[in-house]
């Protein structure tokens, strides 16, 4: 019994080893042996951009749209946080009615202060 398990283990090890080695050897034989590549200038390449392309608004309208968006986003985030804070206080008050005082949540949030 034991020897059979041992041989099975050895077989498994062999398979693992082979599967580690096989792919690389297979690739090696397959990779371009006897492959002659002639230097060929080929068709002329189309114009390639050589400078980095800066990112930004593509038109004055888009620039305005982005500024308007930011100017709308931050006030609405502040208002939402204010309302969330009211909500949090209400929720905590509700929770404090339900739970024993030892378990009462304190005002532990970092953002909603």
């Amino acid at each position: 019994m034991r020897s059979r398990r041992g041989s099975r283990l050895a077989g498994l090890a062999l398979v693992v080893l082979a599967s580690c080695l096989l792919p690389s050897s297979a690739v090696r034989t397959a990779s371009g042996e006897g492959l002659a590549i002639q230097a060929d200038p080929g068709p002329p390449k189309p114009e390639v951009r050589t400078e980095p392309l800066p990112a930004g608004p593509r038109s004055p309208q888009e620039r305005t749209a982005v500024i308007v968006f930011l100017a709308w986003m931050w006030p609405s985030i502040l208002v939402l946080i204010y309302v969330l804070r009211l909500k949090v206080r209400e929720l905590d008050r509700l929770a404090s009615f339900e739970e024993p005082p030892s378990n009462r949540p304190n005002d532990g949030g970092p953002a909603v202060r």
């Binding site: 968006f69 986003m73 609405s76 208002v79 939402l80 309302v83 009211l86 909500k87 209400e90």
Partner: protein
């Protein structure tokens, strides 16, 4: 007079406010996303063709040309002027073929037929083929979107 109790609880008011503001906030992201997923329409305003390729057309003859990324057809009228069509079926957007022997445009998708002037004559196409204007400008034939 002071109202002794509210018909509308503070809790519901807060919930509604939060939901409304949250929706409005999220809603502002919809516009830019919709704009992003809608790529700019790319139909050409005009296509310039060398006259040399179309000069020898006989009256009544029809030849194809590329209208941007769609097939276009040019027909030579009896008076020598040109008439252009967008070669796309008005039924469900398939490309049509010109059958020179029958002098008809044929759409294979749903068996639609147009006559040589692009009028829908048989099958499901609801309207004639879209027309383009073609004018001679020097040695070029300029095909434009036609108004009307």
């Amino acid at each position: 007079m002071k109202i002794l109790y509210s018909l509308f609880s503070r809790r519901r008011f807060l919930n509604g406010l939060l939901a409304g503001l949250g929706t409005a906030f999220a809603g502002t992201f919809v516009g830019p996303v919709v704009r992003f997923v809608t790529p700019p329409y790319r139909e050409p305003d005009e296509v310039k063709l060398p006259l040399a390729g179309y000069k020898d057309m006989a009256p009544g003859e029809v030849r194809s040309f590329p209208w941007g990324i769609k097939p276009g057809f040019l027909k030579r009228r009896d008076d020598g002027s040109f008439l252009g069509f967008v070669g796309v079926c008005t039924h469900l957007d398939c490309n049509v073929a010109y059958k020179a022997d029958q002098k008809k445009f044929f759409c294979a998708c749903h068996d639609g037929w147009y006559d040589e002037d692009g009028r829908n004559i048989q099958g499901p196409p609801p309207t004639p083929l879209r027309r383009l204007t073609a004018v001679l400008e020097g040695e070029e034939l300029v095909v434009r979107k036609s108004e009307a």
